[in-house]
């Protein structure tokens, strides 16, 4: 019973059957209580998904596009999963990976020519005025970040790029380290649309501290609307 071909069941639940096919499935459901239970369970979940508010979907990050399903290689998918939900791991691993001055973005293929709005992040009070960063949003929900003249990160410290609005609303984008030349360049996927946030922020983080924002911001810029 329940292991009948799945397609008609899914199509039935999703309302993608012709009237004739629909009647045929309904007939099967009347004859098979186990199949009926299974379909009712799927219909309940589908109904709840139909009624999810947009804000609930947004908590999942950027909307999937064709590339995210078709072209995403398994290792990239894993990397992205690893980057997003486990910030402590990201920070620790980045400290290792980027020790040689290589940004995490280097691990991810870079677009040929970045385009889209550019944001200049300026030094905050307490930081040298010459410190700055350029962030370019690129098609496909990525960001290319170039930093200049930032103080080198020492052992146990790293920088973190954030999209943020306020205390209750921010998300970490990437961790990176800076060598003696004060430079770093990243090409990173954005976990959510930057339009939802007010600022791009770069903070100096301590590896020994928690994964949250250290409160030690060094560069920041409003995100253009």
């Amino acid at each position: 019973m329940s292991r009948e071909p799945q397609e008609p069941i899914g199509d039935y639940v999703l309302g993608e059957l012709s009237e004739e096919e629909r009647r045929r499935v309904q007939q099967r459901l009347r004859e098979d209580p186990l199949l009926r239970d299974r379909v009712e369970g799927l219909e309940a979940i589908a109904g709840m998904l139909e009624s999810l508010p947009p804000e609930a979907w947004e908590t999942l990050g950027p909307r999937p596009g064709p590339v995210t399903v078709r072209d995403r290689a398994p290792w990239r998918s894993s990397l992205r999963q690893w980057l997003r939900p486990r910030p402590a791991l990201v920070a620790g691993a980045c400290a290792l990976l980027l020790g040689a001055g290589i940004g995490i973005g280097v691990l991810i293929e870079r677009p040929a020519s970045p385009s889209g709005p550019t944001v200049v992040l300026h030094a905050l009070a307490g930081a040298a005025p010459s410190e700055r960063a350029l962030a370019r949003m690129t098609p496909g929900g990525r960001m290319v970040l170039s930093v200049e003249r930032l103080p080198p990160t020492g052992p146990g410290s790293f920088y973190e790029l954030w999209l943020m609005t306020n205390l209750h609303d921010l998300v970490a984008v990437a961790s990176f380290r800076v060598g003696a030349d004060g430079r770093a360049e990243l090409d990173v996927p954005l976990p959510v649309s930057p339009a939802r946030y007010r600022y791009l922020d770069i903070s100096l983080q301590r590896s020994s501290a928690g994964p949250g924002h250290s409160g030690d911001s060094v560069l920041r810029a409003p995100i253009p609307t």
Partner: protein
């Protein structure tokens, strides 16, 4: 007695160098369940930050939708964090998941707020009507909580399955359109779609 450090406290969110009011330690993260349970059991003051990091967006989204008032939602979220810390030692993971427990607290506190919005009735008939309304509010709050839990559980699915569900239900694409846009064979889309729905159903049942 130890004190609770909510994310706004000086210990958990040191001042940002520049004015602008954008400090924070909040970020969405995969919950470290054993650590969270340990913190709850020990009434660790940092448990609020751990909860907020893992479940804050879901809780706040739920409260915002239910209360239709961002400020009130933020207030209730703080109450939820405080209550979770206060009652954490009595939390029994065998009875409910952390998420279900937190959503239950959030639902109760939000209903308290909704009740306070309704003036005390003097007319007995009106009192009856308000009681009926209260039942409807509780049902509504429960249904919304289930939806937000479902949103959270979507993040537990394999990304290819979650993406398919998002395309179908968030972007309202048909399975044929999904197949065309992604290059995945239509039969595979359909098979994965059913699997994804069944996985999500399984996760929901685990939560209940």
């Amino acid at each position: 007695m130890s004190t609770l450090a909510i994310a706004t406290g000086p210990r958990s969110a040191p001042a940002v160098r520049q004015a602008g009011g954008v400090p924070s330690r909040l970020r969405r993260a995969e919950p470290d369940e054993p650590r969270l349970l340990r913190q709850l059991a020990q009434r660790d003051p940092d448990v609020a930050a751990t909860i907020q990091s893992a479940y804050g967006r879901i809780l706040l989204g739920y409260l915002r939708q239910l209360l239709d008032d961002g400020g009130a939602a933020e207030d209730v979220l703080q109450q939820v964090l405080l209550e979770a810390w206060q009652r954490g030692a009595s939390f029994d993971p065998a009875r409910a998941s952390v998420l279900t427990w937190l959503m239950t607290i959030a639902r109760s506190r939000a209903i308290d707020v909704l009740r306070r919005r309704v003036p005390e009735p003097h007319d007995p008939a009106l009192a009856t009507a308000l009681l009926d309304r209260e039942g409807a509010v509780e049902d509504h709050a429960g249904a919304l909580a289930e939806r937000w839990q479902l949103a959270y559980l979507l993040s537990k699915l394999p990304s290819d399955h979650a993406d398919l569900l998002r395309m179908r239900f968030e972007l309202a694409m048909s399975q044929t359109e999904i197949a065309e846009q992604t290059g995945i064979p239509l039969g595979t889309v359909k098979t994965r779609m059913v699997r994804a729905l069944e996985q999500l159903r399984g996760l929901m049942e685990q939560e209940r």
